[in-house]
Symmetry: C2
Subunit: 581 residues, 2 copies
């Protein structure tokens, strides 16, 4: 062992102890006759002192050659510091060094290894191994480990069994794009990397392993939006002989446990709201409920007046922004412009100031009297000093626009406190979603989701109205998990594939093994999956998942550190029975 | 929830309780007026009773329709059994059923769902979800979970941090063949799936994360020998600021912990033997030391006599087989034939019987007198009643042949007791191995392994003699883990690539990122990896890893259950910029 102690543990109780430390030179202050070096490792920083009077000449001289990030080993005595540093756990002591060994030199690092670094995103990704030396990144990785340990412990204690499912599986064109792997031994054939272990976990249920989980990498070859990764990690779970309520309870319990153990936060029983309610109230199926600003639907009091825009709209909807009554005309115009940007796409926005004297001043005073506006205030819950913003148009689109405004204003008003945690369940998701381009329905969750039995009849008449036993867990405006009760009989699964536009041949070829399995005594089952990267980031009070992944890829799916992907040899291509085109 | 209890927990303390159970019909015995059904779930079997006199007619009649593997839910009362079954935890009670619901019917399964099944390997793989219902397979998966939980707990308690490394990495032609993944977004380029996270864990050390582990899938596109899988799981570990001794101690501790916690077995400090000693003594770098039969080198007392075969040999070596003196001539001839099979390849074998009266009878009595043979007995440790078998030829080949005999005879003599655990370390592996075909040296472990500093000079003069700081953990004749102290400076790493026949361009292109990293303060580091599949199998007292993998592939790398790999669409190929040839 190169050290007797680490750089984070020595204190006054160790004074006069002979110790050996090893680590990196964080910084060095050479005062001529005295040289202080901050030695850093994973556990902390300890101050070393080289003193012309007290150190051997060779050691003293060698210390002067140390550069930033040199790896050194020192032997010395723990002594009390003259100038104590209360901000460091080791701030009361320093090491008077008697022996110094340079274990490895270092070039000057391309950015500073400090909590606040001067390195930009690109350079930090290229030298990720240096970035990991920085406390923020290092602590995120340690935090991730702590979360996964707690998850495993909690589920294992409830008799869940972690089962590894295969990574080399079968490609199915349904859903997102697969990454594929050419098979050398099976010419012209390909494996696919799993987008999730969905079918395997269902087969484990058929196999009687009634409580399964796995923390597992999944893969999607999607065009990467900001903060998406081609490989990502799921906490994947499934249970048999359960109803939706049982699943919600177990994983609400897990999440409550994590919040308590990891963050020290107690949360109440999670609210459960339906998808329809979420859309109507927040314009969003993953509402952030750390703050209010719930939607008020104003059709009744905004239509049938002389304002043609509202009269023509399917939906007129507003929110009351607390304390925003003081916004200047310029600020309001800025917000209207913000709403009109293509990313949001509103055609305009109406505002109503709730004056201190109880009157209202709006941009549509020409069309609405004080009584009308009082109705609006009542419905949106606006108080004196608030501002009501109102948008109108096609229902879904308008709700989405107002949701964007709600989130933006909450951020500006500091209502999105990362230290506050407001989880909830959104339930009763629609089974199907109309793809406007193709005019075809596709599964909102996936084709294995069970429709609600009472809605089965609607499949023929009004497929968009069929609700599923599907649910999402939402935390601070992020979907952190989602799942469903699955279909467990062949007939319903066949029907579902039919509705999704599979021919029976296609269904059989791609999912025949699952439908076969359903014929041999498949139990009722369901489950969910958490997005671990996102969950960890949110628990860590941050929103960027990349900071919680040791070696992330950039938006082109490249690992810029190792420079992958890369070309491969012709020999390799030949063995795989493929060539480039 | 479909059940109030599981099928393994009810006993006399529950008598008169109303319960709800759900599970699979294991078997049904219809006696006309009485019908017993064994209901099975993951936790056990509970007997149900349907009685013409005590059950409702509809329930009684419905019970008669139940087939094997039907999934049912029952409500009923726990009653005491008349004929108790002491072999079942639930054997004192049965459930008098009042309500019966068939949750799902089942076709007749293609093999019996019993501990001893009538299904062959192929059919069980195709219907693996049914195979998993069988206790032996189910218990193996639960056992695997238990082992991984203990591993994580042990390492985490020692401050090891589990870090997920990427699966989409860079292909390197060195080593085994990579599985590759064509990149859609980077035309003409490929990711590779990791053969191990080797370089990433080293970069984590450079990054200061000084104790890392990960239970991680790895991939090798090899021609599959029996009991190899294209995807397999490693417990991958690395530490910084350590010497070999520290690593051996930590992972010996882990293994001892597993043996204690999982098997209730206390083992002594692991013996440590060198590679050279292992080869000389057991003819094998992964010796099974649950039994003796150590090699005796007989050159001194077997050569320079009149037996030309031995005189011409580089090595004459024998083992004493305990109690084998009674082997008949036929048995001995059988063993000689066994040794001459192409799989072993011996050209012959000499035997010496150690008679009860202290004399010897050998197949080479013509050339050797009793005193010669007494020397042989002394060197091989043969006792009265034993048999000495002697082979000769080129040293390495001959040792390997005798090792095969040693293992075979131990198996025949019942000395390979799966309930006994004899771990050891084999250390000081050679750094390089001569590839006889190409005449080139390649890395025995991998190119990142550090040569022993004292052997560095031999690299120029006698590369085959250079020893590495490399070690294997061996358990019951299986290598269950291996690792090394790594090179951590650019110059040595460059030198190593040169000796391995890389041009400096090749080295830079493939491993430039690692050598760059070594320039920014890389600490001394080393580690090891356990093969989890094998470790679990051996701890489970079995040798076949496939039985400890939920969804294994066959020897052609196929998943016969889901039928993967498979053809993919032309659209997919086109998007990936490849075509089939």
């Amino acid at each position: 062992m190169y050290r007797s102690h680490n750089c984070g543990e020595l204190n006054v109780s160790n004074i006069n102890t002979e110790v050996t430390l090893a680590g990196w030179v964080q910084k060095s202050r050479d005062k001529g006759f005295m040289n202080w070096v901050d030695l850093r490792d994973r556990y902390g920083v300890t101050q070393l002192i080289f003193d012309e009077g007290r150190s051997e000449k060779s050691v003293f001289e060698l210390a002067k050659t140390l550069g930033r990030e040199y790896v050194i080993q020192v032997k010395g005595t723990v002594i009390e510091r003259e100038a104590k540093n209360k901000n460091m756990t080791t701030g009361d002591i320093e090491i008077l060094v008697s022996e110094l060994t340079i274990l490895n030199a270092s070039l000057t690092p391309p950015f500073t290894i400090e909590d606040e670094t001067d390195g930009g995103e690109d350079i930090r990704m290229k030298y990720r191994y240096l970035d990991i030396r920085r406390n923020p990144v290092k602590n995120n990785l340690l935090f991730r480990h702590k979360v996964t340990m707690e998850v495993r412990k909690y589920l294992s204690d409830l008799d869940f069994c972690e089962v590894e499912t295969p990574y080399l599986i079968k490609s199915t064109p349904e859903g997102a794009r697969d990454f594929v792997v050419p098979s050398r031994m099976n010419e012209g054939q390909f494996y696919a990397l799993p987008q999730s272990p969905q079918t395997f976990k269902q087969l484990l249920m058929v196999g009687g392993m009634d409580k399964y989980f796995q923390i597992v990498k999944c893969f999607r070859d999607e065009d990467l939006r900001a903060d998406r990764q081609p490989e990502f990690t799921q906490i994947d779970c499934e249970m048999a002989f359960v109803e939706q309520e049982d699943i919600l309870n177990v994983f609400e319990g897990l999440t409550r446990h994590l919040l308590k153990e990891i963050k020290g936060v107690d949360v109440e029983k999670f609210p459960r709201i339906t998808y329809d309610y979420a859309m109507k109230t927040y314009g969003n199926d993953k509402p952030d409920i750390r703050f209010g600003m719930e939607f008020g639907e104003l059709n009744e009091f905004a239509q049938h007046k002389d304002f043609p825009v509202f009269n023509a709209a399917e939906l007129v909807v507003g929110i009351a922004v607390p304390g925003a009554g003081i916004y200047t005309r310029k600020e309001i115009d800025g917000l209207i412009d913000w709403m009109k940007r293509p990313q949001v796409g509103a055609s305009g926005m109406v505002y109503v100031k709730c004056n201190d004297d109880g009157t209202y001043k709006s941009s549509v005073d020409k069309f609405y009297d004080q009584q009308d506006l009082a109705h609006w205030a009542k419905i949106t819950g606006a108080k004196v000093g608030d501002m009501i913003f109102v948008v109108s148009g096609p229902a879904h689109k308008t709700r989405t626009q107002l949701s964007a405004l709600r989130m933006e204003l909450a951020a500006r008003l500091g209502l999105r406190n990362p230290g506050e945690f407001a989880p909830l369940w959104v339930v009763d998701f629609p089974l199907l979603e109309l793809d406007e381009e193709s005019g075809r329905y596709h599964a909102m969750h996936h084709p294995f989701t069970s429709p609600k039995p009472e809605d089965m009849a609607l499949l023929e008449t009004d497929p968009g109205k069929v609700r599923a036993n599907a649910y999402d867990m939402v935390l601070n405006g992020n979907e952190i998990g989602g799942g469903s009760i699955r279909i467990h009989d062949k007939a319903t699964q066949q029907l579902m594939f039919k509705y999704l536009g599979f021919t029976s041949e296609e269904a059989k070829e791609q999912f025949g093994f699952l439908m076969d399995a359903f014929q041999f005594g498949a139990p009722p089952h369901g489950g969910l999956a958490f997005g671990l990267d996102r969950l960890v980031a949110i628990l860590g009070g941050q929103e960027t998942i990349r900071d919680f992944i040791a070696f992330p890829k950039n938006n082109s799916g490249r690992d810029v550190m190792i420079d992958a992907p890369s070309k491969i040899d012709d020999t390799q291509l030949k063995e795989l029975h493929i060539k480039l085109v």
